[in-house]
Symmetry: C2
Subunit: 356 residues, 2 copies
């Protein structure tokens, strides 16, 4: 399928979290229907999706039926099992494509790819056993972070290592999973670029946002980011380079460290990204619609930022602040999650801070 | 219920058209679920609603079940049968309330109400038979419009009368339905105010928009409207006066004629309004969220206009322009309707024309 999808077509979304929810709304705005595939019960996206399949990713019959009922498949998280993707891909196009997914599912593959592109990453070394780790510590130094190669999300599967004597214990927590040791980057700030690439190869990037994390979870994104004109341009060029190298279709989130020696690529996520939520308030066409446009084969939209925005995540008990926030001029986005567990993203708030 | 609804609560919507669709999206954004009640098959709102009841308005069992499953009931059109409302109201609050609905369901009642408030309307006279009509023509003059008192929408149930000899034939087309004869108003332009009133009595109005109709259907709304500061203030005060007089809760659309003698009230609709769609692009909080906030007992949002917008309806075959519009920087909103009948509202486009 290379023709643009006509309104009325069905977009399949793997994963029913808040990203799937906001993708569903954007898809509806363009006249598309969405079908969400999600193993968990009562997913946030179900409230605004046309159809929902509740089944695990190894339910081949459910996956096949899902793929046959939709026109294109996308995903809201990058850890979809490869077998599920193989099955779907034989029936319908998956966008963004498998290469981007494979890269982002494996930290080592991702970092090797970025290095091949000539981009700077944190120093890293593959760790499969205690010997590897010992060598890696010698090479990279401490403190460093030991990360599983796969399944990282919001700081899970990561151990900070400060003392070589703790190396063995750290390795034990990974239970033999292949890992990398990653050196720390002395950075001034962290920014991200939400980029998009259309089916026609056109690339458009939103303004870089400046991110603040706490406990491995994004707390705020501020636009504009404090960047020089050259840094801003570099950031966008890096995102474009990654998009083109992957023959990418859809929205990508590229996280960058700003250092005195230039920009260092932290990682990318082949999907709409928490640090792009500000676009809902700051742009006529937000990251969710941009992603839908790309995977539907539509022209990319105008992502010009028309105001300055601070996006703040509402995490866990932050949800209790909603009545107070509702009294302000801020734009509230709640995800319809009933239980406010610690660390759980319950919603976000976009505040306009200037005219852009 | 006078406590604010908590996220997770269910908002019942009578009617599943595009207004119900956009209300559903706004409700989801605040963490609410929606349950749509609609007699027709595959309504636009169903794509983004949590639940759908497909049943006619005289299905008392379905209405009762619907009312019991939701926390508050609102509607996207004003011609809900009174019996259905009676049944629902015994179970759950209906917002906006019955008085506003009764007013807007009957052109004579509405005009009498507006006159009692001291507001100016077009000259009008009740018409129940040929004698009434003859007297009305003498009093108001021709040309004039003969309108049924009830069930008017998008120019339906209206006959333009230019020749007294055609009076009898015009009356015949109404098949004995109670009617009014309405004189023409020599107006410079037509504007509308989208106002909102909270459960706490707070009133907030969006900037007036300037409307252009063709064949009785809204084509474009432009903000800002060409109004003097005094006219702008008058327009907002009129809307506020109506809202307060009706002890209204929710969003109202008030249509006004701008004449050399001041503003003349054409009619009001006790719901979100086509002429308020520009707020999706021009304001942080749009008319749909404002309505949801009001009926949920939340504080009204900030409806400040941050840019100039032209909203254009996509009617019937206009839908064929979508690929072209998608290449511009405009914000597209499609309603998911499969069949593009002449006169059918298929979507709308918001174009930013300035910085507000």
């Amino acid at each position: 399928m290379t023709e643009p999808l006509a309104p009325g077509a069905v977009i399949g979304i793997l994963g029913g979290g808040q990203l799937g929810r906001m993708l569903s709304v954007a898809a509806a705005r363009l006249g598309f229907r969405t079908h969400v595939f999600e193993p968990g019960a009562a997913p946030p996206a179900a409230d605004v999706a046309h159809a929902l399949t509740t089944a695990p990713y190894d339910d081949t019959e459910a996956l096949r039926a899902f793929a046959e009922e939709v026109d294109v498949v996308t995903y809201e998280f990058e850890n979809v099992p490869a077998e599920a993707l193989d099955l779907i891909e034989a029936i319908r196009p998956i966008r963004p494509g498998r290469e981007a997914l494979a890269m982002s599912q494996d930290r080592l593959t991702e970092k090797n790819f970025l290095t091949r592109l000539g981009l700077t990453t944190a120093p890293f070394s593959a760790v499969n056993d205690a010997d590897d780790l010992s060598l890696a510590i010698d090479q990279i130094g401490l403190p460093a972070i030991l990360k599983t190669r796969r399944l990282g999300y919001d700081g899970k599967g990561q151990t900070r290592l400060t003392d070589p004597d703790h190396a063995e214990a750290a390795l034990t927590t990974l239970a033999g999973a292949p890992a990398i040791l990653e050196g720390f980057v002395a950075f001034e700030r962290e920014v991200s670029v939400i980029g998009a690439r259309g089916l026609d190869g056109a690339v458009a990037c939103f303004d870089p946002g400046e991110n603040v994390h706490a406990d491995g979870i994004l707390r705020t994104t501020t636009v504009p980011a404090r960047l020089s004109a050259a840094q801003r341009s570099d950031a966008v060029l890096i995102a474009a380079q990654i998009l083109n190298a992957l023959d990418y279709v859809g929205v990508i989130g590229v996280e960058l460290f700003v250092t005195e020696h230039g920009l260092v690529v932290n990682e990318f996520a082949p999907r709409v990204h928490n640090s792009g939520h500000w676009t809902q308030t700051g742009c006529v066409i937000d990251q969710f619609e941009q992603h839908v446009r790309a995977i539907a084969g539509w022209p990319l939209g105008d992502g010009t930022r028309h105001c300055d925005v601070v996006m703040e995540n509402l995490i866990g008990d932050d949800i209790d602040l909603v009545p107070e926030i509702a009294r302000t001029g801020a734009a509230l986005h709640l995800y319809g999650k009933t239980e406010a567990r610690p660390g759980r993203k319950m919603g976000h708030v976009n505040r306009i801070t200037g005219r852009g």
